[in-house]
């Protein structure tokens, strides 16, 4: 059987890739995708812990997280569309009308 650490390290790497993407990517849609990666890393954690302790609550949490993430992306994409209509770009570097 594969030990639990392998899964946890996999999730941690996924989380780190997502966090890196959020920090360096300038396209806001890609940033939203990277946030999804981070959320999925947490989901993997939940499922692994749930499977190893035979407790179902972790899986319930995952279903909640997935639905919340879907709602968040729906609102997020709508907001990006609105910003695109007004500014004609989705690059994060263009969002600089307010600083300090």
């Amino acid at each position: 059987m594969i030990p639990i650490e392998v899964y946890l390290v996999f999730a941690a790497v996924l989380f780190a890739i997502g966090a890196y993407g959020v920090m360096v990517k300038s396209n806001t849609i890609v940033v939203l995708m990277c946030i999804e990666l981070m959320l999925n890393a947490a989901n993997i954690n939940f499922i692994v812990f749930s499977a190893f302790t035979t407790d179902v609550l972790g899986q319930v949490f995952v279903i909640m997280t997935i639905s919340v993430a879907a709602a968040e992306v729906a609102v997020g994409i709508a907001i990006l569309l609105n910003a695109y209509k007004l500014k004609n770009t989705t690059e994060a570097d263009s969002l600089t009308s307010m600083r300090w």
């Binding site: 959320l39 919340v68 307010m98």
Partner: protein, 500 residues
């Protein structure tokens, strides 16, 4: 009259009574607007629903009602006080969005629907007894708030603010969920009292350390603590002013409630039985608190836009409230909750004044406020009270709550004396910061009272704004001279949370 009305009406759903009304109203809002096409009707239904929900909640609070719904929602003294706070914020916001020139016309039903949905989410967090319900409540607030900010659709600043808010909010969600998953892995349950019990029998582990760091960062974004504060000034500046007020006074408190629920319960249980990293985490919070209040106040000095200045002052206030997490005593929690209450009326009132003046065509720069005392004496007087209360001038509400809060960092019994704590340096920094904050509040007061404006033409502020500002004025004075009105409930609430 007592809470038996609520229990006979709602049966086993009684702990959820304040939320159910608002949920139904939230779903009805778009239909009401579609059917009547009247903004007044929508606001009337929203205000009536909030008032009814508030009535039930106050009955339950005064009666000392306690109950739970299948173990995941627990209504106790803590939930009652925080629900009351969120209801007040929602009531003020619903009132003023009617006559604000910045709120949407075409989607007014949806606007109110989102407002009430966010309020329900806040109440969920206040009653939550489970990581799942805390998470869902915080997300309900966040997602509704993204849409509320973006509802000022034609304004490029609002669009930019909404994009920043949704990305930072998503990042904060991801961090929080990762932390919660680690916490679940360490303890094997999502029920908060059970988590506390499980942690009290085990040693500190690296997985628990990761959970702590990611949860502090995730909720740090929600409460806009430095270094997770970058989004707050942009969002408060870009959003419609009633929405800024809702976010600054209500939405920010949700992060605090979640922090209190998770951290205080866990640490009180864990520190009594096992060797644990309690002290280290308290130091982390103390340092975040000190940096947050200092940076918020120092950067606020250089702001010329009032909404942005209030946003930075809001960051500083979050730093004051974080003293609770550093001290972690019952008295500190009670005074922290009391400060959250007075903050609603002080900061909420200041945002309302800004919103009222924008609605009559006055800009949001400090220089636009010149000669305001001649043009709108009541509004200028109210703003003076709110700003002085925020700075902590006696006998206003801000002075009393800061006195309680800072004294809790000096003696473990607060004003009652007792043993001196090790957080005295934090109290010193907080008092120093209050002095700094007086500087930038006085700039606005000087512009309003002393400097001469271009005209002396009188301004007529919309009625709902005057009513909401009057409510804030009354409470800013009342809570200053008679703090027991709320403080007694806060003390009960703190002992309820520490008793879990």
């Amino acid at each position: 009259m007592d809470s038996s009305i609520v229990t006979s009406l709602y049966g086993e759903f009684a702990p959820l009574a304040p939320m159910i009304i608002l949920m139904i109203a939230a779903l009805l809002m778009p239909a009401v607007y579609y059917a009547t096409k009247l903004r007044d009707a929508v606001t009337l239904v929203a205000v009536a629903a909030i008032a009814l929900s508030m009535f039930f909640n106050i009955l339950m609070m005064i009666d000392g009602y306690q109950g739970d719904y299948v173990g995941v929602f627990v209504y106790d003294a803590f939930a009652g006080v925080m629900i009351l706070l969120f209801q007040i914020v929602a009531l003020l916001t619903a009132m003023v969005s009617l006559s604000s020139s910045e709120t949407t016309r075409a989607h007014y039903g949806a606007f109110n629907s989102l407002l009430l949905a966010a309020t329900v989410g806040m109440m969920f967090v206040a009653t939550a007894n489970d990581l799942i319900t805390i998470f869902l409540g915080v997300e309900l607030v966040s997602i509704s708030s993204y849409a509320l900010v973006a509802m000022k659709r034609k304004d490029p600043r609002a669009a930019e603010a909404a994009v920043k808010y949704v990305i930072i909010g998503g990042l904060s969600t991801a961090l929080t969920v990762y932390g919660l998953s680690m916490l679940y892995g360490v303890t094997g349950t999502t029920n908060i009292p059970e988590i506390a019990a499980a942690l009290s029998t085990q040693d500190f582990s690296w997985a628990f350390g990761i959970a702590l760091i990611t949860m502090i960062a995730g909720y740090g974004f929600k409460i806009a603590a430095v270094p997770f504060h970058m989004w707050a000034p942009d969002v408060y500046e870009g959003a419609a002013t009633p929405v800024s007020m809702f976010l600054g006074t209500g939405s920010k408190k949700v992060g605090f409630v979640a922090l209190f629920k998770i951290f205080i319960v866990i640490f009180v249980a864990a520190s009594t039985t096992a060797a644990f990293a309690t002290e280290e985490v308290q130091y982390i919070f103390a340092i975040i608190a000190a940096i947050t209040m200092t940076l918020g106040n120092v950067v606020a000095i250089s702001q010329n836009n009032i909404k942005r200045m209030l946003a930075y002052s809001s960051i500083a206030q979050a730093g004051y409230i974080l003293i609770v997490m550093a001290v972690m005593s019952e008295y500190a929690l009670a005074s922290g909750m009391f400060h959250m209450f007075t903050h609603v009326f002080m900061k909420g009132g200041a945002f309302l004044v800004v919103g009222a003046l924008i609605s009559v065509g006055i800009g949001e720069k400090i220089s636009d406020y010149r000669g305001l005392a001649k043009r709108a004496p009541f509004i200028a007087f109210a703003m003076l009270l709110f700003l002085f209360a925020l700075a902590g001038i006696p006998p206003l509400a801000g002075f009393t709550s800061k006195l309680f809060l800072f004294s809790s960092a000096i003696y473990d019994g607060g004003l009652g004396g007792g043993v001196m704590t090790q957080w005295i340096w934090l109290a010193f920094i907080a008092v120093l910061n209050s002095a700094i904050s007086l500087f930038y509040y006085t700039r606005v007061v000087k512009a309003m009272l002393i400097e001469k404006g271009e005209t002396t033409e009188r301004i007529k502020v919309p009625k709902t704004f005057t009513a909401a500002i009057s409510i804030c004025v009354v409470f800013v004075i009342l809570l200053g001279i008679y703090p027991q009105l709320i403080m007694d409930f806060c003390a009960d609430a703190a002992s309820a949370l520490f008793g879990i």
